[in-house]
């Protein structure tokens, strides 16, 4: 009985892929591999290519990660320190709560607050100085960069929370030993604790990456939804999720929705691989200290 129930998870997972594949089949057969490399998206001529969306998705996510990772780990280290527990507790809880805030809320905030601000105080100044570098020119309110920015804010809590747990999982004895050997706080953290936690933190990172890749709403609201490989990180772009979110409901015919669903399929496969890697890594750390 329970055994049967327990299998629902894998069953569902397989179902999802199977059904989406079946739904996407027309597109898969019609475009073949070219779908992944095609650059235009034209419902009228029914020519669809996923590359710009894929590019958008991947770049936004990685950019977000680059911004969030160092900060996240730093905060995690801060939180894992003992002392002023209540204080750290409050901050920790606060950050975890922010992980729970619906993405649509981040979206609206990004749309009306973050994006304008970042346009004025980040994009413009940078492009003024470094505009001569192509991909730092043409600042815009709705841009790939701002999407990354909001993503960074959104994954920061996850990143922090998991990293903190991993760091806390490092046996206290290690810290004590290092300190007893006359190591400073930094030496202890940097040479003993973080190395011990490394795999776990890496796992957390990739997990966050997965989140970023799949994030739909917030990105859709600020990325500008232009279906092209943007010339600059400050220009509008598109992501797999956004395309689906924006176009699926009005998609007509067979090939158009099929293509959209194929986009979804691509998205799933990307996140799936990323996730699997992450999970295996996290697990390995846990086991290390379980022994």
């Amino acid at each position: 009985m329970t055994a049967a129930v327990a299998t629902t998870a894998p069953v569902v997972l397989v179902l999802i892929i199977a059904i989406l594949l079946q739904q996407a089949w027309p597109a898969v057969t019609h475009f073949g591999p070219a779908f992944l490399t095609g650059v235009n998206w034209n419902p009228v001529t029914e020519s669809f290519g996923a590359l710009p969306a894929i590019f958008g998705t991947v770049t936004t996510s990685f950019l977000a990660l680059v911004i969030a990772l160092p900060i996240g780990v730093a905060v995690a280290v801060f939180l894992a320190e003992q002392g002023q527990q209540t204080f750290r507790g409050v901050i920790g809880t606060g950050i975890e709560l922010l992980a729970a805030i619906p993405s649509v809320v981040y979206g609206i905030w990004a749309l009306y607050v973050l994006a304008p601000w970042s346009y004025q105080h980040i994009e413009v100044p940078i492009s003024d100085r470094f505009g001569f570098i192509g991909w730092l020119s043409q600042p815009g309110v709705r841009s790939l960069f701002n999407a990354s920015l909001v993503l960074a804010v959104m994954i920061l809590p996850t990143l922090t929370a998991i990293s903190r747990d991993v760091i806390r999982a490092v046996p206290r004895g290690m810290k004590e030993n290092a300190v007893a050997l006359g190591a400073t706080w930094w030496e202890t953290t940097w040479r003993v604790i973080l190395p011990a936690a490394r795999p776990g933190i890496f796992g957390a990172t990739i997990l966050a990456l997965g989140r970023a890749l799949g994030e739909t709403i917030a990105v859709t609201m600020v990325i500008g939804n232009r279906y092209e490989i943007p010339p600059s990180i400050f220009s509008p772009a598109y992501t797999l999720a956004s395309v689906i979110a924006n176009e699926f409901t009005e998609a007509t015919g067979t090939l158009y929705p099929a293509s959209l669903i194929e986009l979804g399929l691509v998205l799933i496969l990307v996140t799936l691989t990323v996730n699997v890697i992450a999970l295996l890594l996290v697990r390995s750390t846990k086991d290390r200290f379980a022994a």
């Binding site: 629902t8 739904q23 805030i101 619906p102 649509v104 973050l114 930094w186 799949g214 799936l272 990323v274």
Partner: protein, 284 residues
């Protein structure tokens, strides 16, 4: 000595940097809350906001009751589907985790947690909407259920796994049946953790937009029939926010505030429950 002085200095400096970064991290997160509250507050002040449903732009007294009700129905249905299954599954994973494929189940549910909600929306669409040829609350509930299921499973398993093995052994050593030990000794001990899991799942589900876009789809009127289209809070925020009309944008902020309060509320409760669980487990 000299070197040691340098070491102390380096250590101090790096500590300072860590603190600085923490502050930096807190700023945007703080701002999110601040703006949601400050911008959403005005619209929340009107009682109609909670009693009335959609009014065309310009017509005063617009409200979001239809969205709240919709969310309630969707999440309610989803919970009915996801939570019981999730709990049993979680207990099974923790209690019989020796089974070879258990680790696969675990991996699957983890992956499911990470699957983009939009894709799950697509799935629900293909599974329910397409065959029935109309958007419906049911399809939305299905989507949300799929979102919730892995969360419930994993948190339940986590909570159960937290219970020291000694408890299990002691129970069996007293000559009690395996399933009795699992359900009458272990599960009660893990109850708070399990509840936490359920609550978190609910919170997550009630905040999701993407899966509802082409399942529940949305509805401007207050309806209770899950077989038809349903509005939901997140949908409201999403749709109104992108409108050029100030009034709708304000309603969006208002809805956002309601949503945030709801979600954070649930979270805080679950957290409180969880803390009791941890204290208990550690004392076992």
């Amino acid at each position: 000595m000299n070197r040691n002085a340098r070491r102390r200095y380096a250590s101090g400096a790096s500590l300072a940097i860590v603190y600085a970064l923490t502050v930096l991290a807190l700023i945007p997160l703080g701002l999110v809350l601040w703006f949601t509250v400050s911008k959403g507050f005005p619209s929340v002040l009107h009682p109609e906001f909670f009693t009335n449903s959609f009014r065309p732009v310009g017509v005063p007294g617009a409200g979001i009751v239809h969205a709240i009700v919709g969310t309630a129905i969707l999440v309610g249905l989803a919970s009915l589907m996801a939570i019981p299954i999730g709990i049993l599954g979680g207990v099974y994973l923790a209690e019989y985790n020796v089974a070879r494929w258990a680790s696969w189940v675990r991996l699957a549910s983890d992956v499911l947690v990470g699957t983009p909600s939009i894709a799950i929306g697509l799935f629900a669409y293909a599974l329910v909407v397409a065959p029935l040829h109309h958007f419906s609350g049911y399809s939305g509930a299905v989507a949300l259920a799929i979102l919730m299921l892995p969360i419930v499973i994993r948190t339940t398993e986590g909570a159960v796994a937290l219970i020291p093995n000694g408890l299990r052994e002691s129970g069996l050593a007293l000559g009690l049946r395996r399933w009795r030990v699992s359900l009458q000794l272990i599960l009660p001990a893990a109850a708070p953790g399990v509840i936490t899991g359920a609550l978190l799942a609910v919170a997550r589900a009630s905040g999701e937009t993407a899966p509802l876009l082409f399942t529940a789809f949305g509805n401007q009127h207050l309806v209770f029939d899950p077989n038809g289209q349903l509005q939901a809070l997140p949908l409201t925020v999403y749709q109104y926010a992108l409108q050029p009309y100030k009034s709708l944008q304000d309603q969006a902020w208002g809805a956002a505030l309601v949503l945030v309060v709801m979600v954070l509320g649930i979270n805080l409760i679950s957290r409180w429950v969880l803390r009791r669980q941890l204290r208990l487990a550690s004392s076992l």
